[in-house]
Subunit: 327 residues, 2 copies
């Protein structure tokens, strides 16, 4: 492997000069610069990243800490983050916390030891015990410590769902919320409920039922059944909005079991746009998480070295498919 010294010798300059053209330092005069570049080319010179890291105390690597890369949402995020990082010549170091706060702490400190230039964390713990550091950290999707949070605008997304259902003429509506201990779940609920309340009035009232459950399939199925079973068509909701696709798919199943046709007799909506959402029958109307924007924003935060910056909520898009229809 040729070193900067070899290049300097070949180009007939000092290593300092080579280093300066490497750093795209504009102070190097044109003819010299060209000579150096030619020498680098000829030798197929590649800077030794470890040496650079030792000097600068930072490396062109972004750390990414997720609960579990096996979760499709996190995998999508990881992919897009890797692409954004690659655009800037950076690599990404991947770590999983396996939903364990202690592992998360360890992994974070391992990342810090490696002198990465920034860390993106999708939190498992609240991160309250994290020691301050001067490498920029941002939390993605779930809040971590006092670091800025970049997340989908859950409030806005739920409002869009509310508008969609309202404009289809639904006036007897149920909302299946997620566990209200979670910030996401509260925001989604709040967005939906507040919009419905704003839309409702004495002449044209909306009947809204809210039920809290888990974010998963089983919870959706169970609540769906309780909402739909044993009631005449004019006593049950004409639309059920779920706080997650998983729940919505559970509702779909309960409707099928009860022989209630979706979307003819019942409209169903989810949130997230997981892969299954477009595979299920009927395909699910939902809000797509803005994964690319989330990734792009997270990476650019790292580069701005903008540790004090504020939270950012990124709007998702509503994708209307076959599970919703006029009331």
């Amino acid at each position: 492997m040729p070193t900067i010294k070899d290049v300097a010798r070949k180009a007939g300059v000092s290593v300092g000069t080579v280093s300066r053209v490497l750093a795209k330092n504009e102070t190097v005069k044109h003819p010299l610069k060209l000579r150096v570049q030619a020498a680098m080319e000829e030798l197929d010179y590649k800077p030794n990243l470890a040496a650079r890291a030792l000097r600068t105390n930072s490396i062109d690597v972004i750390g990414l800490l997720v609960p579990d890369i096996t979760n499709p949402f996190f995998a999508q995020l990881a992919k897009n983050i890797e692409m954004e990082a690659a655009k800037r010549g950076h690599s990404v170091m991947l770590a999983n916390s396996h939903d364990d706060p202690e592992t998360e702490r360890l992994q974070l400190s391992a990342l810090l030891d490696r002198a990465v230039c920034g860390i993106i964390v999708v939190a498992t713990s609240d991160g309250s015990e994290t020691k301050p550091t001067d490498v920029p950290i941002v939390s993605l999707d779930r809040r971590f410590g006092s670091y800025p949070l970049l997340a989908t605008d859950h409030f806005d997304g739920s409002q869009k769902i509310a508008d969609h259902l309202y404009s289809l003429g639904h006036r007897r509506i149920a909302y299946i919320a997620g566990p209200q201990t979670m910030e996401v779940a509260r925001q989604r609920r709040e967005g939906f409920v507040s919009r419905m309340e704003a839309l409702s009035n004495a002449q044209d009232p909306i009947g809204l039922t809210v039920v809290e459950g888990q974010f998963d399939y089983d919870s959706g199925e169970e609540i769906g059944r309780s909402l739909l079973a044993g009631r005449p068509a004019d006593k049950r909701p004409t639309a059920i909005a779920a706080a997650s696709d998983q729940q919505a798919i559970g509702v779909l199943r309960s409707a099928r079991d009860l022989k209630i046709a979706v979307p003819v007799e019942l409209s169903v909506t989810g949130f997230d746009d997981i892969t299954l959402a477009s595979l299920v029958v009927p395909r699910l109307t939902t809000v797509r998480q803005p994964i690319e924007s989330l990734a792009a924003s997270a990476v650019s935060r790292i580069f701005k070295d903008d540790t004090t910056a504020a939270d950012e909520a990124i709007a998702g898009e509503i994708v209307v498919r076959e599970s919703t229809a006029p009331a």
Copy 2:
């Protein structure tokens, strides 16, 4: 950040000695060693990894290059590799090739530049243009260049399926193969077909039909229909073995459309054990890819620095569920 020098001063020894206890070099006498360890503890000393990398020209990081981390199989692999690496105090650098040979080449060389101590690649290209290097490289799942390949024992897995179907009494069987341009597809087919041929004899002959398709859902559905439609029950196969779960799920769908009951009238098997396999109705009998073993084996190859080593085929387990029954 305290350095090795600070530790040396505090312990009243030379930096060489500190470095030796760091390296678990047993030549350091006990009392000294203890003093050094106490000093490290007290200062919360963490070695500067970049400095170490510069000296040793290698870093405690394994590179992982996959076509697309969004593919659940690769994500599982990544997770297990990360866990194995973590056990040994190593991190993993993640790169995606997005199924593009050129990107793959670039990513590989980026990984090499970072002086990782080994690279695991799930190939996109045949890797024939890879320059030789002295960092150990292994290919996982798909062959890459002349590096050793660790993969599921597709031949063996298919044999297990063949045995399973045979022992259930099936004698009119169809096999849906994958594209025979792919090594995996050939091995799976070969395992199944050769076993069936060995099992068949004049007194108790097996009627075996083999159809080649793509590995995907649509292909399975289409071939399933062609195998099943418009034939009386005694003219169509009593079992269809597919070379992938995706295909098998397609077959399930075609059977449902044709009102052929699985597993009563038809047994169906897949290969891979994707998540969907246990979600589908009826749940699919298949061969589980030995992901943990694959990951463990890949990582340990890197550590053995065993670049010349041979390929390794790791057996998967058959998981019998509800899509198979006696003929």
